[in-house]
Each structure stands twice: as structure tokens, then as C-alpha cells.
Amino acid sequence: MTFFFEVLIGGLLAGVMYSLVALGFVLIYKASGVFNFAQGAMVFFAALTFVGLQEKFGLPFWGAFVLALAAMVVLGILTERIVLRPLVNQPQITLFMATIGLSFFIEGLAQLIWGTNVRRLDIGIKDEPIAAVLERFDIAISSFDLIAALVAGVLVTVLAVFFQVTRVGRALRAVADDHQAALAVGIPLKQIWAIVWSVAGFVALVAGLMWGGAQRRAVCTDVRRAEGVARAHPRRFRIRARRHRRRPDHRRAGKARRGLSRPVHRRRHRRLVRLHDGVAVPVDSARRLVRRKTN
């Protein structure tokens, strides 16, 4: 029975490690509808940058962390600029392929900058069974896995709150629902994508540290394996608002709109607010747009 619990808990904790990588997939999928194949490569890049900074410049943990985070943000913004912006309105498969290309690119770039050597990544958490639990229940639970699970839990909570409550989070959900409609209500698509890729970069950095720490090195193959599992996840995290668009009364509303009964700005304003009642698209930004149009 102890063995059963040991395997059960160990397995659950290992699963949480995967969820760290999966989180990055979900973030980008949720906010832009892009299935980001390059997430694994981003994890790899983040971990390698962190280790490289520590080794080459002898930076302390937080210094390397901040700089690696900055590197990830730059990477995210560049991705938005160079890859995603020209591909707006392309079919999903094209964007998916672009991220595959991106994953090759990032992998090559990371190794070109930091070399191909296998490196030690030590983030100062011991990978040992917790003594108290081992004594009392005779179950070996790695303290590292436990901390990794805690980190994952905190990240998930923070991101969930971010998506539910904050203004940017709402804008992200609106973008996921419909690019064009979001643009029309005044959500700056470009900024939003830069933000979400940066946040995904942050998640990738944390995931990279945890994975690399667990393996004691930052190697491509481990991350690659994570991709396989994470690939299946995004469906669960899709937001519910999508269905609202297909409701028949909206179709009727569309027909009425075409009748040109109301002034232009009025029509647009009403439509978009109703269209997104599921996601509570900021009405004020819609108003702002209307004002800009009429001025």
C-alpha cells in the first residue's frame, strides 16, 4: 500500500511538471488561437539562457532570472513583430506551421549563442525525499517535486486571476474569441500578442528552471518529450464564450443590421457588445472607438 501511494503521489507530481509546460501552450492558444509548437523550444531557450548567464557572467540566481526573463520578453515581442503580425488572418494551420519553424529557429539560436554542451542547472532545491514524511509514512516524496508542484499551482492561480479579473486578461479573452471583433472594439491586437508571448516566455522560464532543475541539466530532449504530452491539453481551457456567436438571435441581429436602419457607429457599438456578452468586452473601449469614428 505504501508503494501504491508513493507511485500515486510521485506520478501526480510528475504530471504537475508537465502541466508547467502545458500552461504555456494554453496561454497562447487562449489568447490568440495559435497552437504554439515552439513552447518546448522556448522552455529550452529560457533554461539555457538562464544557465548561460549564470555560468558566463557569474550572476546570482535573481540576476540571471531577471535577465533571462528580459530575453524571453524580447523574444516574445520579436516573435509577434516578425512572425505573427504578417500572418494575421491566415488559417490556423499556417500559424501552426509558422510556430514549428519558430521552434527550429529558437533551438538553433539558443545553441548557437550558448553552445551545445550539456550544462548543470542547479537552482538550489534539493532533490531528496522529505525526511518527516519518509519517517512517519515510509513514503518517499521528493522535496523538489513538491516545490515544483507548488510553483505550478501558484502560477496557475495567478494566471487564472489574471485572465478573469484584470483588464488585460479580459482583452486577451476577447482576442481569443474573435480577432476582428476585438480589434473593432479597440483592443490593440499587436500589444496583446506581445504581452501574451511575453507571459508565455515567463512561464517557459519557470518551466525550464523546474525541468532543468529536476534533470540537473538543460537538455533539448527532455523538453521535447514534454511537448508530446502537452499537445493534447488545450481543449479543456477553451473559453465558453465562443458558442455565443452562433446563437440565432445574433444572426437575426445581423440581418437587421444589413437593413441600414441605424446610424453606423450605433450599429457597430451595439453589435459588438452583444456579441461578446459572454466575455464582457469592455464597453468603454467600444465607446471610445465610436467617438473616434464620429469625431
Binding site: V83, Q90, F96, M97, I106, E107, G108
Partner: protein, 358 residues
Amino acid sequence: MFYREAGQFKTTYAADQALFPIRQDRYAMLAILAIAFVGVPLFSSNYWLTALLIPFLVFSLASLGLNILTGYAGQLSLGTAAFMAVGAVAAYNFQLRIPGMPVLLSFLLGGMSAALVGILFGLPSLRIKGFYLAVATLAAQFFIPWLVTKVGWFSNYSASGVITAQPIVILGMAFDTPQKKYLLVLAIVAVLALLAKNLVRSRIGRAWMAVRDMDVAAEVIGIRILRTKLVAFAVSSFYCGVAGALYAFAYLGSVEPDGFNLDLSFRILFMVIVGGVGSILGSFLGAAFITLMPIMIEVLLTGASHTFNLNLGPGVTSMVQLLVFGGLIIFFLIVEPHGLARLWQITKEKLRLWPFPH
């Protein structure tokens, strides 16, 4: 000026329905075939044949198969390499178990086995679409190599699971030199490509495209979705299976099941996307691009490091390959999301007038 159809009148229905209705295309095709069948084996070295041209042809066939499924029928698949594995292993086993089995027939049967497996893994396509279907075909990708490794019978109980393809002998003639192997592969690929070209404009092909463009509408006008999708899976897997058999018999000689991994599937998907989704020509262009580009980069880099006396480490070349490869994929997607085939089409449009303004 160079691509003008002016003055070419079609007087019969047959002429109107020709595969290449424009004369320039016909002659160009004949010229390409003549070069491929006569010129290339005469003038190219063994290295070119074994390392470049045979894999190029094999991958063209595989991406043709995937293009039928993804480009024409609109079903995304990541199991291409698995279907290739089925073809290779089946052809090997038909050769092994049945004495006096003709090689070509075993290729054919290998392809058919792959088609059966393809139908099996195509069943989920009735319910799921897009990425979720890709994940379902991913199951084939992981299951089949595992099965082949696990069940010793498939590889004739070889210790490492590696299958060593039998020598190719057709009607008492041994296809042992690179030239002969190349010609055999070329002939098979040419016939199958012709078949595919005709297939996609037949009733079946049009049904595929209807399903791809809007499945509900296709169903309404009387296309049986179930059958159409499964036929697409079967034909696609058949092509992949034959490609797999050629991969084992004509290209590598001996293959391990793990060689047919996800990376290979992705490579073939790249070929389809870079070449052009929903285009026969695109499969060939994509395969050429993806097969030849890494070698080109390497040649260029080595040349550059010699001329400029750079001291590039051994790893740098492969890193730069990754970089350029990824960069080019993104570049092509941005410049032309419909692939090289579309670029060629645009070029042809331009050539109608060029160099004259009107």
C-alpha cells in the same frame, strides 16, 4: 510571351480535358521526364543518386500521399511516417514469407496494408476535425513503431528490430546499382503521380475537395462523408505505404521502426506546406526544397568557412542549419502561405506578358 496560350485551339473534348492543356506545359513535362529518365542516370554521380535523388523521390511520394489527405480532403494527419512504416514492414514480410513473391507486387501489397491501417486510424475523422484529428493520428504515429518493435514477428525476430530489405530483383534483373534503383523509384513515382493527378480531378477528387471546403454542404449535395473521408485516408496511406517500402528497399536498405518517428512525419508535413497544400506539383517542389536545402546550407557554409578562413566548430553548421531552416519556413509562410506551387503559378501568370507591358 513565354507562357502564352494564344493560338492553341481545342477542337475536341479530349483536348479540353487534357492533363496539361497548354502546349508549353506539355513540352516542359516531357522535357523534365526525359531529363529525369535519361539525362540524370547518365550524368550524375552515385553520391547524387543515393544521397539526394532517391530520397527526394521517395519523400515526394510520401508528401504526395499526405497532400491527398491534407491538401485535397482537408484532414490533417501526423501519422505519415507510421503509414510509411506499415508499408515498409509489410513489403518486407510479403517478400520474406511468400517464396517467389514479385517485388513490385509486394510493394503494392505493402501499400494496401498501409491503406487498411490508414482506414482504421481514419475512423476518428468522422467525429473530430483539425488539430484534434491530428492528435488522433498521432496515436498511429506512436502505436505502430511500438507494435513493430514489440512484436518480433514483424521484423523476423531480429534482435534490434531492424529489418533488412531483400535485394530487388524484377524478372531476373537485379536492381542493385544506384542508377537502376533510381530508375525504378522514378518509374514508380511517375506512375503514381500521374494517377494522383488524374484522381484529384475525378469524381472522387472533387468529392474530397467539397468535403474539405465545407463538409456540411458536401453532405447536403449528396456526398457520402464517411466513404469520402475513408477513401482519402486509404489512398493517402497507400501512397505513404509505397513510399515507405521504397524508403526501405531502394533508399536505406535496412530500417529500424524507430526511424519512422514523429520527426519524419513533420518533415513530410513541412514538404506539403512549403510546397503547397492541395497541389501535386507542390509535393515535388516541397520535397526538393526540404531534402536539398540542408545540404545546400552545409555546402555554402563550408565554402564560406574556407574562403573567409573562419574557424567554425563542428556544431555550428548544424545550428545554422536549424536557424536557416526554421527561418526559411517562416519566410515562405509569410511571403506565400500557399507554398512554392502558388509561387510558380504566379510566375506563370507573369510570364504570359513578360517582358512586354501589354
